[in-house]
Amino acid sequence: MTTTSTSTDKAALRSPLGILTATTATHGTGGDGDIALPRLPGFVESAFSPLAYEVAARCLTEYPGDGSRTAVALASLMGDTTTADLASRRVVSGKVHNPLLFMQATANSVLGHMSREFGITGQMFSLSTLDDPVTELLAMADLLLEDPELDRVLVIGIELGGSERLAAAYRELVGDGGRSVPDLPESAALAAAVLLGRPGADTPVTVTAAETSPHADGARHPGGVQGLFDLVAAHRRLPAEGGRLPVAPAFVLTADPHPPTNALP
């Protein structure tokens, strides 16, 4: 659940989770790993849906499974703000709405596209999270995997750069609390996806709740996905190295050392 000063249940996981595979992608950040924006028919002008689809498709291609027993949860601060701003500017300038913007305005549309391409008929939904969604998404996976009709949960986190409107919203959110405001180029996007199940032969890396939080995440900016990126990075290292790695804010990844798996880049 969203972390708040009054929330009582910080130990997000009741049972361990196993990571089947995990990946990240960035676009337009200026970093070394940036990729060109993948083309996604029907989705225009914004990096939100193409990048969400990219990381989801990598995971679901790497580990195909029973789509009827797979759920998907996608988290972001406020969805596809690029599309929202485009649509809003058309309204105030008196232009006719673009039906494509209508369709892609909700994250349901890209989830529906994933559903069709990968035959996923389990529950798919999107969330708005103020803080890094890693805790929310892993807790969600833990809860959903108690459903006897599900055995895999794909979790996705998206962060977009944005307009001055988004920057103003960030400033209002952080207020005087000392938290940072993201500094991303307007066209930038970051996405991470983790395919989770219960620990087993296919999941050499296990996620458990930390007995004590490695460190608070209060310095992180609203809408950031660094926690998910850290989780993916730890998952890349652990199968080869073995051992335990804490991942902020409240998790420990554990693996027995053995040859590297086919974990995604």
Binding site: D85, F118, F125
Partner: protein
């Protein structure tokens, strides 16, 4: 907290629609089969194909007065009062909402003007952040439990209720306030107009052969869910129980429902299995998604037939969007309240605006007039863009 597992009950609700605030307003409108639609004056409807929407005639203006956060707070307070749940309780707050996009429109209207964004105009711009509205709702009600916000379009608040059921039945929380909200505003209105989804004749006629689309409507509601044991211990009276829930995806199209309603069938069957009634033998009513579009209503009919093939023709089905309009992210929770009232009052709300049977919509749609019914259980269905479907089974205590 000492989590108590098991049955999920509803002990309070607050609701606001175009008919006004509270259950009596729903009884006068939805349960009488009186459509709420009228030309809206909240914005200039000149550029659009219709001026019609289900908007409240009274109350604060949706654009200028931050009405969405206020309406959420009021419905939340009403729900707590009915449940007699104290402020300061450790209740989760689960919200289904898209954020208040009037703040975005306002920002760009100012920014694109010759004078730019004036000082102070960005105040409450963060109301466009859906999760922020959950924090505001929880803070305003003094609820100290965890918060989570679902944004998955027209199933968002139903998804919030389903999540609460999972949290409560698994013993993670004892109490959750689930809410949703949408108030008609220009930006979303324009998007639905551009998608040619809005009704051409100013009415919503679900399942009728002459249906031509949906109309948007105001809707805000909150419900208090808690474990039966928790309610019993504090002496709260259960209004209904939630005995089954399901959610499934069509795997068909980014916007259109599967023509056979396969995701809806799957969600309904999940919910019925959980309710211990896989054939729907105990169901006495279905509150359908029933948008009044060509695509939805035939698919939904076929999906319901497949969900309980032996019983489909015997179970009355109605779409209350025919009176409220489509409340988008709030549809799930408002229609949950309507379904609960049907159980409590023993009255089926009709499908208003029904004129002509459609061969592909061949169930009992409770046309135009309310109907007395001695109900034990009812199913409420919602669907959304991307082929998302939800189902909830409610039971009268």
């Amino acid at each position: 907290m000492s989590p108590l597992t098991g049955e999920v009950t509803v002990t309070g609700f607050g609701v606001r629609t175009a008919f006004g605030t509270g259950a009596e307003a729903l009884r006068r409108g939805v349960f009488a089969g009186v459509p709420s639609f009228a030309p809206t004056t909240r914005f200039d409807t000149g550029p659009y194909r219709t001026p019609m929407a289900g908007v409240a005639p009274e109350g604060p203006d949706a654009v200028e007065d931050w009405a969405l956060r206020h309406a959420l707070a009021q419905c939340g307070a009403d729900a707590l009062d009915m449940a007699d749940l104290p402020r300061g309780s450790e209740a989760a707050v689960l919200l289904g909402i898209a954020g208040d996009c009037t703040s975005v429109t306002r920002y760009w209207r100012n920014a694109d003007s010759e004078t730019g964004v004036p000082e102070g105009a960005v105040d409450r711009l963060a109301d466009a952040v859906p999760a922020r509205l959950a924090e505001l709702l929880a803070g305003g009600l003094g609820l100290t439990g965890p918060r989570l916000t679902f944004t998955n379009a027209c199933v968002a608040s139903a998804a919030a209720i389903i999540h609460a059921c999972r949290l409560i039945s698994s013993g993670r929380v004892d109490v959750a306030v689930c809410a949703g909200g949408y108030l008609v505003e220009e930006e979303t209105f324009g998007k639905f107009d551009s998608g040619r989804a809005l009704s051409k004749d100013g009415m919503v006629r679900p399942f009728s052969a002459d249906r031509s689309g949906l109309l948007l409507g105001d809707g805000v509601a909150a419900v208090v869910l808690e474990s039966a044991e928790h309610a019993r211990r504090r002496g709260a009276r259960p209004l209904t129980s939630i005995v089954g829930w399901g959610a499934a995806t069509d795997a068909h199209h980014i916007a259109q429902p599967h023509p056979e309603g396969v995701g809806l069938t799957r969600a309904a069957r999940q919910a019925l299995r959980l309710a211990g009634d896989p054939d729907g033998a105990t169901l006495g009513y279905v509150n359908a998604h029933g948008t009044g579009t060509k695509y939805n209503d035939g698919a939904e009919t076929r999906g319901l037939r497949a969900a309980f093939p032996e019983r489909a023709e015997a179970i009355p089905v109605s779409s209350t969007k025919s009176t409220t309009g489509h409340m988008l992210e709030a549809a799930g929770v408002v229609e949950f309240v309507i379904t609960m009232l049907a159980l409590m009052d023993g009255v089926l709300p009709p499908t208003a605006g029904f004129t002509t049977p459609d061969p592909e919509c061949d169930l009992d749609y409770v046309p135009n007039e309310p109907r007395p019914a001695d109900l034990h259980r009812a199913l409420t269905i919602n669907a959304a863009f991307g082929g998302a479907n939800t189902a909830l089974v409610l039971e009268r205590p």
